[in-house]
Protein backbone atom coordinates (compact mmCIF):
# COMPACT_ATOMS: atom_id res chain seq x y z
CA UNK A 1 0.00 0.00 0.00
CA UNK A 2 1.40 3.38 -0.81
CA UNK A 3 2.33 5.82 1.89
CA UNK A 4 -0.39 8.35 1.13
CA UNK A 5 -3.09 5.74 1.59
CA UNK A 6 -1.61 4.76 4.97
CA UNK A 7 -1.47 8.38 6.09
CA UNK A 8 -5.05 8.93 5.02
CA UNK A 9 -6.16 5.89 6.97
CA UNK A 10 -4.34 7.03 10.08
CA UNK A 11 -5.89 10.48 9.86
CA UNK A 12 -9.36 9.00 9.49
CA UNK A 13 -8.78 6.67 12.42
CA UNK A 14 -7.69 9.49 14.72
CA UNK A 15 -10.58 11.71 13.64
CA UNK A 16 -13.06 8.87 14.10
CA UNK A 17 -11.95 8.29 17.66
CA UNK A 18 -12.39 11.95 18.61
CA UNK A 19 -16.11 11.59 19.47
CA UNK A 20 -15.21 8.90 21.98
CA UNK A 21 -12.36 10.97 23.42
CA UNK A 22 -14.70 13.95 23.83
CA UNK A 23 -17.24 11.71 25.51
CA UNK A 24 -14.66 10.51 28.03
CA UNK A 25 -13.36 14.03 28.71
CA UNK A 26 -16.85 15.42 29.11
CA UNK A 27 -17.80 12.63 31.47
CA UNK A 28 -14.84 13.61 33.69
CA UNK A 29 -16.04 17.20 33.58
CA UNK A 30 -19.54 16.04 34.57
CA UNK A 31 -21.06 17.43 31.37
CA UNK A 32 -23.09 14.41 30.34
CA UNK A 33 -26.35 15.61 31.94
CA UNK A 34 -27.87 14.24 35.14
CA UNK A 35 -28.23 10.86 33.46
CA UNK A 36 -24.76 10.17 32.00
CA UNK A 37 -25.41 6.50 31.30
CA UNK A 38 -28.34 7.32 29.06
CA UNK A 39 -26.31 10.07 27.42
CA UNK A 40 -23.38 7.74 26.63
CA UNK A 41 -25.76 5.11 25.37
CA UNK A 42 -27.47 7.57 23.02
CA UNK A 43 -24.21 9.16 21.85
CA UNK A 44 -22.49 5.87 21.00
CA UNK A 45 -25.59 4.65 19.18
CA UNK A 46 -25.71 7.90 17.24
CA UNK A 47 -22.05 7.60 16.18
CA UNK A 48 -22.57 3.97 15.16
CA UNK A 49 -25.30 5.06 12.75
CA UNK A 50 -23.16 7.92 11.59
CA UNK A 51 -20.18 5.73 10.66
CA UNK A 52 -22.49 3.14 9.19
CA UNK A 53 -23.89 5.83 6.88
CA UNK A 54 -20.36 6.95 5.93
CA UNK A 55 -19.43 3.34 5.14
CA UNK A 56 -22.46 3.07 2.89
CA UNK A 57 -21.56 6.35 1.21
CA UNK A 58 -18.07 5.25 0.10
CA UNK A 59 -19.10 3.21 -2.94
CA UNK A 60 -21.56 5.76 -4.38
CA UNK A 61 -19.03 8.56 -3.88
CA UNK A 62 -16.29 6.55 -5.53
CA UNK A 63 -18.46 5.81 -8.54
CA UNK A 64 -20.02 9.23 -8.83
CA UNK A 65 -16.85 11.29 -8.52
CA UNK A 66 -14.36 8.63 -9.69
CA UNK A 67 -12.51 8.95 -6.37
CA UNK A 68 -10.57 5.70 -6.43
CA UNK A 69 -8.43 6.76 -3.45
CA UNK A 70 -11.48 6.64 -1.20
CA UNK A 71 -11.96 2.91 -1.65
CA UNK A 72 -9.48 1.65 0.99
CA UNK A 73 -11.45 3.64 3.58
CA UNK A 74 -14.55 1.51 3.17
CA UNK A 75 -13.38 -1.32 5.39
CA UNK A 76 -11.91 1.14 7.90
CA UNK A 77 -15.20 3.05 8.28
CA UNK A 78 -17.07 -0.23 8.55
CA UNK A 79 -14.79 -1.33 11.37
CA UNK A 80 -15.14 2.01 13.12
CA UNK A 81 -18.92 1.62 12.95
CA UNK A 82 -18.48 -1.85 14.46
CA UNK A 83 -16.23 -0.40 17.17
CA UNK A 84 -18.89 2.17 18.17
CA UNK A 85 -21.51 -0.58 18.10
CA UNK A 86 -19.33 -2.54 20.56
CA UNK A 87 -19.03 0.46 22.87
CA UNK A 88 -22.79 1.01 22.56
CA UNK A 89 -23.51 -2.60 23.49
CA UNK A 90 -20.95 -2.53 26.32
CA UNK A 91 -22.65 0.59 27.68
CA UNK A 92 -25.89 -1.34 27.86
CA UNK A 93 -24.40 -4.50 29.37
CA UNK A 94 -22.07 -2.84 31.88
CA UNK A 95 -23.36 0.63 32.69
CA UNK A 96 -27.07 0.33 32.06
CA UNK A 97 -27.81 -3.25 33.11
CA UNK A 98 -24.70 -4.00 35.16
CA UNK A 99 -24.55 -7.64 34.00
CA UNK A 100 -28.14 -8.35 35.00
CA UNK A 101 -28.39 -11.19 32.48
CA UNK A 102 -31.90 -12.21 33.43
CA UNK A 103 -33.18 -8.71 32.75
CA UNK A 104 -31.17 -8.45 29.52
CA UNK A 105 -32.55 -11.74 28.19
CA UNK A 106 -36.08 -10.60 29.02
CA UNK A 107 -35.41 -7.36 27.16
CA UNK A 108 -34.02 -9.16 24.11
CA UNK A 109 -37.11 -11.37 24.09
CA UNK A 110 -39.78 -8.77 24.87
CA UNK A 111 -38.53 -5.41 23.61
CA UNK A 112 -38.51 -5.22 19.81
CA UNK A 113 -36.01 -2.35 19.75
CA UNK A 114 -33.53 -4.49 21.68
CA UNK A 115 -34.23 -7.60 19.63
CA UNK A 116 -33.60 -5.57 16.49
CA UNK A 117 -30.49 -3.87 17.89
CA UNK A 118 -29.01 -7.19 18.97
CA UNK A 119 -29.70 -8.73 15.56
CA UNK A 120 -27.98 -5.81 13.89
CA UNK A 121 -25.02 -6.26 16.21
CA UNK A 122 -24.70 -9.98 15.47
CA UNK A 123 -24.72 -9.38 11.71
CA UNK A 124 -22.21 -6.54 12.09
CA UNK A 125 -19.88 -8.86 13.99
CA UNK A 126 -20.02 -11.35 11.13
CA UNK A 127 -19.13 -8.65 8.63
CA UNK A 128 -16.32 -7.36 10.82
CA UNK A 129 -14.90 -10.86 11.14
CA UNK A 130 -15.14 -11.68 7.44
CA UNK A 131 -13.61 -8.35 6.46
CA UNK A 132 -10.15 -9.76 7.09
CA UNK A 133 -8.14 -10.23 3.93
CA UNK A 134 -7.43 -13.92 4.48
CA UNK A 135 -11.10 -14.70 4.95
CA UNK A 136 -12.10 -12.56 2.01
CA UNK A 137 -9.72 -14.50 -0.18
CA UNK A 138 -10.88 -17.81 1.20
CA UNK A 139 -14.52 -16.95 0.52
CA UNK A 140 -13.91 -15.77 -3.01
CA UNK A 141 -15.04 -12.37 -4.30
CA UNK A 142 -18.59 -13.29 -5.24
CA UNK A 143 -19.57 -14.97 -2.01
CA UNK A 144 -17.82 -12.25 -0.03
CA UNK A 145 -19.76 -9.50 -1.78
CA UNK A 146 -23.01 -11.33 -1.19
CA UNK A 147 -22.34 -11.68 2.51
CA UNK A 148 -21.32 -8.05 2.80
CA UNK A 149 -24.52 -6.83 1.22
CA UNK A 150 -25.91 -7.60 4.66
CA UNK A 151 -24.79 -4.09 5.55
CA UNK A 152 -28.06 -2.94 3.91
CA UNK A 153 -29.96 -5.05 6.41
CA UNK A 154 -27.82 -3.72 9.27
CA UNK A 155 -28.56 -0.13 8.26
CA UNK A 156 -32.29 -0.72 8.15
CA UNK A 157 -32.26 -2.59 11.48
CA UNK A 158 -30.09 0.12 13.05
CA UNK A 159 -32.38 2.96 12.06
CA UNK A 160 -35.45 1.00 13.13
CA UNK A 161 -33.78 0.35 16.50
CA UNK A 162 -33.26 4.12 16.93
CA UNK A 163 -36.77 5.00 15.74
CA UNK A 164 -38.37 2.58 18.20
CA UNK A 165 -36.65 3.92 21.30
CA UNK A 166 -37.31 7.61 20.72
CA UNK A 167 -40.22 8.66 22.90
CA UNK A 168 -41.83 11.25 20.69
CA UNK A 169 -39.39 13.45 18.76
CA UNK A 170 -38.56 11.23 15.79
CA UNK A 171 -36.62 13.90 13.86
CA UNK A 172 -33.17 12.34 14.24
CA UNK A 173 -34.08 8.75 13.37
CA UNK A 174 -36.02 10.03 10.36
CA UNK A 175 -32.99 12.02 9.17
CA UNK A 176 -30.86 8.87 9.41
CA UNK A 177 -33.59 6.92 7.62
CA UNK A 178 -33.59 9.48 4.80
CA UNK A 179 -29.78 9.37 4.45
CA UNK A 180 -29.73 5.60 4.37
CA UNK A 181 -32.65 5.47 1.94
CA UNK A 182 -30.74 7.74 -0.47
CA UNK A 183 -27.59 5.64 -0.16
CA UNK A 184 -29.46 2.41 -0.82
CA UNK A 185 -31.43 3.96 -3.67
CA UNK A 186 -28.19 5.11 -5.30
CA UNK A 187 -27.12 1.48 -5.56
CA UNK A 188 -30.44 0.40 -6.97
CA UNK A 189 -30.34 3.11 -9.63
CA UNK A 190 -26.73 2.28 -10.52
CA UNK A 191 -27.71 -1.36 -10.99
CA UNK A 192 -30.70 -0.44 -13.20
CA UNK A 193 -28.43 1.59 -15.47
CA UNK A 194 -26.06 -1.30 -16.11
Amino acid sequence: MDKRAVNLKNCVLVAALLPLVFLVVRSYLGELTANPIEYVSQATGWWTLCFLSITLAITPIRKLFKFQWIFPLRRLFGLIAFFYACVHLATWVVLDQFFDFESMLLDIKDRPYITIGMSAFVITSILAYTSRKSIRLALGPQRWVHIHRLIYVIAILGVTHFYLIVKRDTTEPLVFAAIIAVLLAARFIARQKK
Binding site: F98, D107, Y113, I165
Partner: protein, 312 residues
Protein backbone atom coordinates in the same frame (compact mmCIF):
# COMPACT_ATOMS: atom_id res chain seq x y z
CA UNK B 1 -37.40 39.97 35.62
CA UNK B 2 -38.14 36.36 35.27
CA UNK B 3 -39.48 35.21 38.58
CA UNK B 4 -42.20 37.06 40.17
CA UNK B 5 -42.07 37.04 43.77
CA UNK B 6 -44.98 35.95 45.86
CA UNK B 7 -45.31 38.25 48.84
CA UNK B 8 -44.81 36.56 52.16
CA UNK B 9 -44.42 39.57 54.41
CA UNK B 10 -42.50 39.50 57.67
CA UNK B 11 -41.52 35.86 57.69
CA UNK B 12 -39.29 36.15 54.68
CA UNK B 13 -35.82 34.77 55.09
CA UNK B 14 -34.23 37.39 52.87
CA UNK B 15 -35.72 40.84 52.86
CA UNK B 16 -37.05 42.02 49.56
CA UNK B 17 -34.72 44.98 49.37
CA UNK B 18 -31.65 42.93 49.96
CA UNK B 19 -32.87 40.39 47.48
CA UNK B 20 -33.49 42.88 44.71
CA UNK B 21 -30.27 44.71 45.40
CA UNK B 22 -28.41 41.50 44.99
CA UNK B 23 -30.13 40.96 41.70
CA UNK B 24 -29.23 44.41 40.48
CA UNK B 25 -25.70 43.81 41.58
CA UNK B 26 -25.56 40.53 39.72
CA UNK B 27 -26.96 42.16 36.62
CA UNK B 28 -24.33 44.86 36.87
CA UNK B 29 -21.60 42.30 37.28
CA UNK B 30 -22.91 40.49 34.24
CA UNK B 31 -22.85 43.68 32.21
CA UNK B 32 -19.37 44.61 33.38
CA UNK B 33 -17.76 41.29 32.74
CA UNK B 34 -18.55 40.94 29.07
CA UNK B 35 -17.65 37.50 27.87
CA UNK B 36 -17.29 36.28 31.40
CA UNK B 37 -18.08 32.68 32.10
CA UNK B 38 -21.07 33.46 34.31
CA UNK B 39 -23.89 32.06 32.25
CA UNK B 40 -27.37 33.53 32.78
CA UNK B 41 -28.40 30.15 34.07
CA UNK B 42 -26.31 30.63 37.20
CA UNK B 43 -27.93 34.00 37.93
CA UNK B 44 -31.34 32.57 38.67
CA UNK B 45 -29.77 30.09 41.02
CA UNK B 46 -28.24 32.95 42.95
CA UNK B 47 -31.51 34.83 42.76
CA UNK B 48 -33.60 31.84 43.85
CA UNK B 49 -36.07 33.43 46.14
CA UNK B 50 -36.65 31.69 49.47
CA UNK B 51 -40.16 30.60 50.33
CA UNK B 52 -41.23 30.21 53.88
CA UNK B 53 -42.06 29.31 56.50
CA UNK B 54 -42.82 25.79 55.39
CA UNK B 55 -44.83 23.24 57.29
CA UNK B 56 -43.31 19.76 57.31
CA UNK B 57 -45.45 16.90 56.08
CA UNK B 58 -45.88 13.30 57.16
CA UNK B 59 -46.10 12.42 53.49
CA UNK B 60 -42.49 13.45 52.91
CA UNK B 61 -39.97 10.70 52.29
CA UNK B 62 -36.78 10.59 54.33
CA UNK B 63 -34.78 9.54 51.27
CA UNK B 64 -31.97 11.81 50.21
CA UNK B 65 -33.03 14.50 47.75
CA UNK B 66 -31.59 14.50 44.24
CA UNK B 67 -28.98 17.24 43.66
CA UNK B 68 -30.45 20.69 43.04
CA UNK B 69 -28.50 21.05 39.81
CA UNK B 70 -29.95 17.80 38.46
CA UNK B 71 -33.52 18.62 39.46
CA UNK B 72 -33.23 22.00 37.76
CA UNK B 73 -31.23 21.00 34.66
CA UNK B 74 -32.64 17.63 33.64
CA UNK B 75 -36.24 18.24 32.66
CA UNK B 76 -38.91 17.09 30.30
CA UNK B 77 -40.81 20.23 29.35
CA UNK B 78 -41.49 19.98 25.62
CA UNK B 79 -42.78 23.56 25.54
CA UNK B 80 -39.08 24.49 25.52
CA UNK B 81 -37.71 21.65 23.37
CA UNK B 82 -37.44 17.90 23.54
CA UNK B 83 -33.84 17.72 24.82
CA UNK B 84 -33.39 17.18 28.55
CA UNK B 85 -31.37 20.38 28.93
CA UNK B 86 -33.47 22.45 26.52
CA UNK B 87 -35.80 23.70 29.27
CA UNK B 88 -32.98 25.14 31.40
CA UNK B 89 -31.54 26.79 28.29
CA UNK B 90 -34.71 28.21 26.84
CA UNK B 91 -37.23 28.68 29.67
CA UNK B 92 -36.03 32.25 30.26
CA UNK B 93 -38.62 33.41 27.75
CA UNK B 94 -41.45 32.41 30.09
CA UNK B 95 -42.87 35.42 31.90
CA UNK B 96 -44.40 34.55 35.22
CA UNK B 97 -45.12 38.11 36.39
CA UNK B 98 -48.80 38.74 36.88
CA UNK B 99 -49.61 35.04 36.41
CA UNK B 100 -53.23 34.14 36.83
CA UNK B 101 -54.85 30.79 37.24
CA UNK B 102 -58.54 30.41 36.61
CA UNK B 103 -60.47 27.68 38.38
CA UNK B 104 -63.86 26.91 36.91
CA UNK B 105 -66.12 24.40 35.24
CA UNK B 106 -68.48 22.43 37.46
CA UNK B 107 -68.05 24.66 40.49
CA UNK B 108 -70.29 27.00 42.45
CA UNK B 109 -67.66 29.73 42.72
CA UNK B 110 -65.46 29.99 39.64
CA UNK B 111 -62.46 32.11 40.61
CA UNK B 112 -59.43 33.65 38.99
CA UNK B 113 -56.50 33.69 41.41
CA UNK B 114 -53.24 35.52 41.13
CA UNK B 115 -50.21 34.05 42.80
CA UNK B 116 -50.35 36.42 45.77
CA UNK B 117 -53.93 35.44 46.53
CA UNK B 118 -53.09 31.76 46.35
CA UNK B 119 -50.13 32.06 48.66
CA UNK B 120 -52.09 34.15 51.14
CA UNK B 121 -54.93 31.69 51.18
CA UNK B 122 -53.05 28.39 51.33
CA UNK B 123 -50.13 27.88 53.72
CA UNK B 124 -47.09 26.34 52.08
CA UNK B 125 -45.73 22.94 53.00
CA UNK B 126 -42.59 21.08 52.11
CA UNK B 127 -43.35 17.76 50.41
CA UNK B 128 -40.36 15.58 49.67
CA UNK B 129 -41.62 13.17 47.04
CA UNK B 130 -40.21 10.54 44.75
CA UNK B 131 -40.75 11.36 41.09
CA UNK B 132 -40.80 8.49 38.60
CA UNK B 133 -40.58 9.42 34.94
CA UNK B 134 -42.23 7.16 32.35
CA UNK B 135 -38.74 6.97 30.77
CA UNK B 136 -37.56 4.82 33.71
CA UNK B 137 -35.53 7.35 35.65
CA UNK B 138 -36.45 8.84 39.01
CA UNK B 139 -35.58 11.61 41.44
CA UNK B 140 -36.40 12.69 44.99
CA UNK B 141 -37.62 16.28 44.95
CA UNK B 142 -38.38 18.58 47.90
CA UNK B 143 -41.40 20.40 46.52
CA UNK B 144 -43.00 23.42 48.12
CA UNK B 145 -46.72 23.70 47.68
CA UNK B 146 -50.17 23.13 49.10
CA UNK B 147 -52.70 20.33 48.75
CA UNK B 148 -54.89 20.68 45.67
CA UNK B 149 -57.98 19.70 47.65
CA UNK B 150 -57.84 23.01 49.52
CA UNK B 151 -58.13 24.94 46.26
CA UNK B 152 -60.85 22.67 44.90
CA UNK B 153 -62.90 22.91 48.10
CA UNK B 154 -62.56 26.70 47.99
CA UNK B 155 -64.37 26.89 44.66
CA UNK B 156 -67.09 24.43 45.76
CA UNK B 157 -67.46 21.66 43.16
CA UNK B 158 -71.01 20.90 42.10
CA UNK B 159 -72.47 17.41 42.27
CA UNK B 160 -71.69 16.77 38.61
CA UNK B 161 -67.94 17.37 38.95
CA UNK B 162 -66.22 14.01 38.34
CA UNK B 163 -62.83 14.96 36.92
CA UNK B 164 -60.32 17.78 37.06
CA UNK B 165 -58.57 19.15 33.99
CA UNK B 166 -55.29 21.09 34.11
CA UNK B 167 -54.25 23.35 31.24
CA UNK B 168 -50.74 24.71 30.68
CA UNK B 169 -50.11 28.15 29.22
CA UNK B 170 -50.38 28.23 25.42
CA UNK B 171 -48.15 30.96 24.02
CA UNK B 172 -45.55 30.03 21.38
CA UNK B 173 -43.87 33.41 21.95
CA UNK B 174 -43.00 32.42 25.48
CA UNK B 175 -42.90 28.70 24.84
CA UNK B 176 -41.10 28.22 21.53
CA UNK B 177 -41.46 24.44 21.64
CA UNK B 178 -45.17 24.95 20.96
CA UNK B 179 -44.29 25.97 17.39
CA UNK B 180 -43.62 22.30 16.73
CA UNK B 181 -46.63 19.95 16.59
CA UNK B 182 -44.84 17.38 18.73
CA UNK B 183 -47.84 17.35 21.11
CA UNK B 184 -51.28 18.86 20.81
CA UNK B 185 -50.99 22.27 22.51
CA UNK B 186 -51.82 23.47 25.04
CA UNK B 187 -50.56 20.66 27.25
CA UNK B 188 -53.49 19.23 29.14
CA UNK B 189 -53.68 16.76 31.95
CA UNK B 190 -56.43 15.32 34.05
CA UNK B 191 -57.28 13.44 37.22
CA UNK B 192 -60.35 11.78 38.57
CA UNK B 193 -61.88 14.00 41.26
CA UNK B 194 -60.97 11.57 44.07
CA UNK B 195 -57.35 11.52 42.85
CA UNK B 196 -57.30 15.30 42.74
CA UNK B 197 -58.72 15.51 46.27
CA UNK B 198 -56.21 13.01 47.65
CA UNK B 199 -53.98 14.65 50.26
CA UNK B 200 -50.83 13.55 48.40
CA UNK B 201 -51.80 15.62 45.35
CA UNK B 202 -50.35 19.11 45.54
CA UNK B 203 -49.94 22.27 43.55
CA UNK B 204 -46.29 23.20 43.77
CA UNK B 205 -44.80 26.69 43.62
CA UNK B 206 -41.26 25.85 44.64
CA UNK B 207 -38.41 23.38 45.02
CA UNK B 208 -35.66 23.25 47.64
CA UNK B 209 -37.40 26.01 49.58
CA UNK B 210 -37.15 28.40 46.63
CA UNK B 211 -39.50 29.72 43.98
CA UNK B 212 -39.84 27.22 41.10
CA UNK B 213 -37.33 27.83 38.34
CA UNK B 214 -39.11 28.30 35.00
CA UNK B 215 -37.87 24.96 33.66
CA UNK B 216 -39.57 23.14 36.52
CA UNK B 217 -43.00 24.51 35.62
CA UNK B 218 -43.12 27.97 37.18
CA UNK B 219 -44.99 29.56 38.69
CA UNK B 220 -47.42 26.79 39.61
CA UNK B 221 -47.60 23.14 38.67
CA UNK B 222 -49.26 19.92 39.66
CA UNK B 223 -47.43 17.13 41.52
CA UNK B 224 -49.02 13.67 41.71
CA UNK B 225 -46.26 11.47 43.12
CA UNK B 226 -47.78 8.05 42.44
CA UNK B 227 -48.20 8.69 38.72
CA UNK B 228 -45.60 9.00 35.96
CA UNK B 229 -44.11 12.47 35.83
CA UNK B 230 -45.93 13.65 32.70
CA UNK B 231 -49.23 13.62 34.61
CA UNK B 232 -47.94 16.52 36.73
CA UNK B 233 -48.75 19.41 34.38
CA UNK B 234 -46.51 22.48 34.53
CA UNK B 235 -47.10 26.25 34.29
CA UNK B 236 -50.84 25.88 34.80
CA UNK B 237 -53.22 28.68 33.77
CA UNK B 238 -56.50 26.84 34.06
CA UNK B 239 -58.08 24.21 36.25
CA UNK B 240 -61.51 22.96 35.22
CA UNK B 241 -63.79 20.60 37.04
CA UNK B 242 -65.57 18.48 34.48
CA UNK B 243 -68.26 15.87 34.22
CA UNK B 244 -66.46 13.78 31.60
CA UNK B 245 -62.93 12.46 31.50
CA UNK B 246 -60.69 15.21 30.11
CA UNK B 247 -58.45 14.69 27.11
CA UNK B 248 -54.79 14.55 28.07
CA UNK B 249 -51.73 15.48 26.01
CA UNK B 250 -49.77 12.22 25.99
CA UNK B 251 -52.89 10.11 25.68
CA UNK B 252 -53.85 12.15 22.60
CA UNK B 253 -50.34 11.66 21.23
CA UNK B 254 -50.39 7.89 21.70
CA UNK B 255 -53.25 6.27 23.56
CA UNK B 256 -51.71 2.79 23.35
CA UNK B 257 -48.62 3.91 25.25
CA UNK B 258 -49.93 6.54 27.66
CA UNK B 259 -53.14 5.85 29.51
CA UNK B 260 -55.32 8.33 31.36
CA UNK B 261 -54.34 6.89 34.74
CA UNK B 262 -50.61 6.33 34.18
CA UNK B 263 -50.06 5.14 37.73
CA UNK B 264 -46.49 3.99 38.30
CA UNK B 265 -46.73 0.23 37.85
CA UNK B 266 -43.77 -2.14 37.42
CA UNK B 267 -46.17 -4.89 36.31
CA UNK B 268 -47.45 -2.98 33.28
CA UNK B 269 -44.64 -2.25 30.84
CA UNK B 270 -44.59 0.57 28.38
CA UNK B 271 -45.22 -1.14 25.01
CA UNK B 272 -41.69 -0.31 23.95
CA UNK B 273 -39.67 -0.55 27.15
CA UNK B 274 -39.73 -2.17 30.55
CA UNK B 275 -41.04 -0.39 33.65
CA UNK B 276 -39.75 -3.01 36.11
CA UNK B 277 -36.76 -0.91 37.13
CA UNK B 278 -35.65 2.67 37.24
CA UNK B 279 -32.44 4.61 37.53
CA UNK B 280 -32.47 7.08 40.41
CA UNK B 281 -30.59 10.10 39.11
CA UNK B 282 -27.17 10.17 40.77
CA UNK B 283 -27.09 6.41 41.34
CA UNK B 284 -25.36 3.76 39.26
CA UNK B 285 -27.34 0.56 39.82
CA UNK B 286 -30.99 0.46 38.88
CA UNK B 287 -33.67 0.13 41.53
CA UNK B 288 -36.82 -1.93 41.47
CA UNK B 289 -39.80 0.25 40.61
CA UNK B 290 -42.49 0.13 43.29
CA UNK B 291 -46.24 -0.09 42.60
CA UNK B 292 -47.74 3.41 42.80
CA UNK B 293 -44.15 4.64 43.15
CA UNK B 294 -44.16 3.44 46.76
CA UNK B 295 -47.33 5.36 47.72
CA UNK B 296 -49.58 2.30 47.53
CA UNK B 297 -50.51 2.31 51.23
CA UNK B 298 -52.19 5.68 50.68
CA UNK B 299 -53.52 5.45 47.15
CA UNK B 300 -54.03 1.79 46.18
CA UNK B 301 -57.57 1.90 47.58
CA UNK B 302 -58.52 4.51 44.96
CA UNK B 303 -58.28 1.75 42.38
CA UNK B 304 -59.69 -1.25 44.21
CA UNK B 305 -61.54 -3.54 41.88
CA UNK B 306 -60.05 -1.92 38.79
CA UNK B 307 -58.07 -3.90 36.24
CA UNK B 308 -54.83 -1.92 36.19
CA UNK B 309 -53.68 -3.64 32.99
CA UNK B 310 -56.72 -2.21 31.28
CA UNK B 311 -56.81 1.15 33.05
CA UNK B 312 -53.07 1.78 32.74
Amino acid sequence: MKYLIPKIKENEVTSRDLFENRREWLKMMGALSLGSTIAPATLWAAAGRKLGPLEKSLYSTTEEATAFKDVTRYNNFYEFGTGKEDPVKFADSLKTDGWKISVGGEVAKPTVFDMDQLLKKFPLEERIYRLRCVEAWSMVIPWVGFPLHKLIRAVQPTGSAKYVEFVTLHDPEQMPGQRSPILEWPYREGLRLDEALHPLTILSVGVFGEVLPNQNGAPIRLVVPWKYGFKSAKSIVQINLTETQPKTAWNLANSREYGFYSNVNPAVNHPRWSQRKERRIGEFRKRETLPFNGYGEWVASLYSGMDLEKFF
